[in-house]
């Protein structure tokens, strides 16, 4: 059976094409002059440049972390190009008509039509291509509701007070090695501001695409939900199929003011490398949100891509009665390695967090859940529930769980459940005896395993995630 599973897993990476777009790309290498050039390309104010440079100086003093359960060659940060943008973007197209059709075609091929008439009505998209945002749809409609949704490079110029106030407020410059690097060299990403008492009229989404060779993508997203507001945000990512590894180091900061709610969903499908582990994206991402009184942040992620995933979307539950949630499906196959989980930091009274993490390992891959639940002295009556389930396909993969619990408040309650199971011969036989082929059998079993997480995704994404798993598992059955 293992043989069949492996076959089913040997999928084609459908997003692996390269777009023929003429780009302006920096020479590989990183020093202060590169950062000055990025800042200049973006036409940034002086304070932003200073912020970048101070982060860079911190980064130079920091060590690359090595505590995750990974095995990959050391990254040469001088061999990476830190900026690449399609030449056609230089004049900042004012409307879709002015955008290079090749760029639009790229997104269409990925199933993200950017022409508003063709789009799914309820979703506004910010499309980021290498180091720049290509287009942001439905902006007028959002502006009517007072919602700001634009590339962060534009927000720095148009809304400097907002950006200055919140950038780095949740993930400080010195937070970690990759976050510091991102602060120094970030190129684009999305900025969202939802005004007080506003329910964002549509789903917002950013679609990240790496195209250029030897470049890193360092995007930065900042979402501020003011008091009593509500927003649902989706994020998707893909990259061409290449033999070289590429670095992606993003930072996402969420601020949920009193009574606000942010739902952040990710379907990560960066190129995972081939069967033997050649190529693929190194994905080192810092995602964190802060919840003020009665606020709620919910992270949902479906991680199927990348050669290496290092990612711990977290919540700081600062305000009383605030709620943090983390729902995760992480699928690894081939030689993929994922070390992912969350941190729930309970500061306020009666704060609540829920963690549901599902790991699926196949082939020769390794998946780890790493999570921290911290109950601070002030977190009276706080509660956490954690459930980590691992599903193994075949007998050459690994699943690992590293739960950390720090409770400094005797009234806080922390629950942790963990299971490990295999796709059993009996289950496969039952499915096949009822007429399902082995690929469909594995996919139905895996989808069932992930159900608790998929039901948290917005509907269009849930369908996409299910399909993505199906593609990912194709050929994995034996």
């Amino acid at each position: 059976m293992t043989e069949q599973i492996d076959k089913a897993l040997a999928r084609e990476y459908e997003a692996g094409f390269v777009s023929d777009v003429e780009s302006e790309t920096f020479e590989p290498g990183l020093d202060e002059s590169v950062i000055r050039r990025i800042s200049e390309m973006k036409g940034e104010p002086e304070w932003m440049l200073e912020w970048r440079l101070s982060a860079f100086r911190e980064w130079l003093k920091m060590e690359e972390p090595d505590w995750a359960l990974f095995d990959y060659p050391k990254i040469d940060f001088q061999a990476i190009s830190y900026y690449s943008a399609p030449k056609s973007m230089k004049d900042k197209p004012k409307s879709l008509d002015e955008v290079d059709p090749e760029l639009l075609r790229t997104y269409e091929k990925l199933g993200i039509p950017l022409i508003e008439q063709q789009m799914l009505a309820g979703i506004a998209v910010d499309a980021v291509f290498d180091s720049v945002s290509v287009v942001t749809t439905f902006r007028e409609k959002l502006e009517e509701a007072g919602v700001i949704f634009c590339p962060i490079s534009e927000a720095i110029q148009k809304y400097p007070e907002l950006v200055k106030k919140y950038i780095g407020s949740v993930v400080p410059k010195k937070d970690n090695y990759y976050a510091a690097l991102n602060c120094a060299v970030f190129t684009d990403g999305s900025f969202v501001y939802i005004p007080k008492g506003t329910r964002c009229p549509m789903e917002l989404s950013t679609y990240f695409r790496i195209n250029e060779q030897n470049t890193g993508q360092f995007e930065r997203t900042l979402i501020v939900a003011d008091e009593g507001s509500h927003v649902s945000y989706l994020e998707g990512c893909t990259a061409p199929q290449r033999d070289e590894n590429q670095l992606h180091a993003a930072v996402v900061e969420l601020v949920a003011m009193d009574n606000a709610e942010i739902k952040y969903s990710t379907v990560q499908n960066w190129y995972p490398g081939d069967e033997d582990g050649k190529g693929g994206i190194y994905n080192f991402v810092t995602k964190r949100g802060i919840c003020h009184t009665n606020a709620k942040i919910s992270w949902t992620q479906v991680e199927t891509g990348s050669a290496v995933t290092w990612k711990y979307p977290s919540c700081i539950l600062k305000g009383d009665n605030s709620v943090g949630e983390f729902y995760s499906v992480a699928l690894t196959r081939g030689r993929q390695q994922a070390d992912t989980g969350t941190k729930m930091i309970h500061l306020g009274k009666n704060t609540k967090s829920t963690i549901i993490a599902k790991g699926i390992s196949a082939g020769k891959s390794n998946g780890s859940y790493r999570g921290l639940v911290r109950m601070n002295p002030g977190a009276d009556g706080a509660r956490n529930f954690t459930q980590c389930d691992s599903l193994l396909i075949g007998d050459q993969c690994g699943a690992h769980t590293f739960p950390y619990v720090e409770s400094r408040n005797p009234t806080a309650i922390v629950e942790h459940e963990a299971t490990t199971s295999k796709v059993s011969d009996e289950q496969m036989f039952l499915c096949r005896q009822r007429g399902l082929d082995p690929e469909k059998a594995v996919s139905i079993i895996v989808n069932g395993f992930c159900k608790e997480v998929f039901k948290e995704l917005p509907m269009e994404f849930a369908v996409e995630a299910g399909k993505l798993l199906e593609i990912s598992l194709e050929g994995s059955v034996g």
């Binding site: 059976m1 036989f429 499915c431 005896q433 009822r434 007429g435 139905i444 989808n447 069932g448 395993f449």
Partner: protein, 261 residues
């Protein structure tokens, strides 16, 4: 008997599990609409026969032939056999957590219809059929939404198997000790379900250790399987004989390895 009319023809079948020979020269011929009971002591190869016919991994055929509707069954993959109309009701149905019964059944029916070149059934029509099947096997409608066999009692699992059979409408149903672990009420429900499905173009192999089930599902033929072979065949009265006298009188040379499960 002429082969052309048979639904299932097994000739001199030899099969083994983990290099241990279990089926040792079995012959059986089943015509459309017939119900054949296969009885025998533990370890005779009753369950193995069901697994070999349905193509379970790990069960290897070493000789003989099996034809279903004139086609070589042994050449087909497990799922192809299912699509050709072979259904196995499991003795111990396995759980598939998180996959709803309805979803699982719809996927199965879709796969089988597609393979036969039939049009896909709409979700609404399927739901109607599934609800009716649920009712027929005396399971609450809520079971359609529950995970496949997840947290079901022994009796509920068996009735769930029967529900699958009702929806898949197979040509040949193999009931593998469907009576095991059932109380008399559950047994009656299952038997009624099976009887309602008896028709001129559907055949059954009822594998059982006890005669009890055959009081409710009247077989046309009863075969005694012992040491991998059919050692005696007869009509329904044979089952009563076995009930009265046990199996020992049929085993001329009881082999030691038959005592193993």
């Amino acid at each position: 008997m002429s082969n052309s009319k048979s639904l299932l023809t097994i000739k001199d079948l030899h099969a083994s599990v983990e290099e241990k020979q279990i089926i040792k020269g079995l012959n059986l011929d089943i015509k459309p609409g017939e119900v054949h009971a296969i009885m025998g002591p533990n370890g005779a190869g009753k369950s193995t026969l069901g697994y070999v016919l349905s193509g379970r991994d790990g069960y290897s055929v070493e000789g003989g032939s099996v034809e279903l509707n004139g086609e070589d069954l042994l050449e087909m993959e497990t799922e192809e056999r299912a699509r050709a109309g072979l259904f196995l009701a499991f003795q111990y149905p396995v759980e598939i957590p998180g996959v709803s019964n309805l979803e699982f059944l719809k996927a199965s029916v879709d796969a089988q219809r597609e393979a036969r070149g039939e049009e896909a059934i709409t979700s609404a029509d399927f739901l109607k059929e599934a609800k009716a099947a649920c009712k027929q096997v005396n399971l609450p409608i809520s079971f359609l939404k529950r995970g496949v066999n997840e947290g079901f009692s022994g009796g509920e699992k068996k009735r769930n198997e029967l529900m699958q059979m009702l929806l898949l409408k197979p040509k040949l149903c193999i009931l593998d000790e469907t009576d095991s672990g059932l109380d008399i009420d559950a047994l009656q429900v299952v038997a009624e379900g099976v009887n309602s499905q008896r028709s001129a173009d559907r055949s059954f192999i009822v594998v059982t250790h006890y005669q009890r089930l055959l009081d409710y599902i009247k077989p046309d033929f009863v075969h005694v399987l012992s040491d991998g072979k059919i050692v005696k065949s007869g009509d329904a009265s044979l089952a009563h004989e076995l009930e009265a006298q046990g199996y020992a009188w049929l085993q001329k040379e009881p082999a030691e390895d038959e005592l193993e499960g």
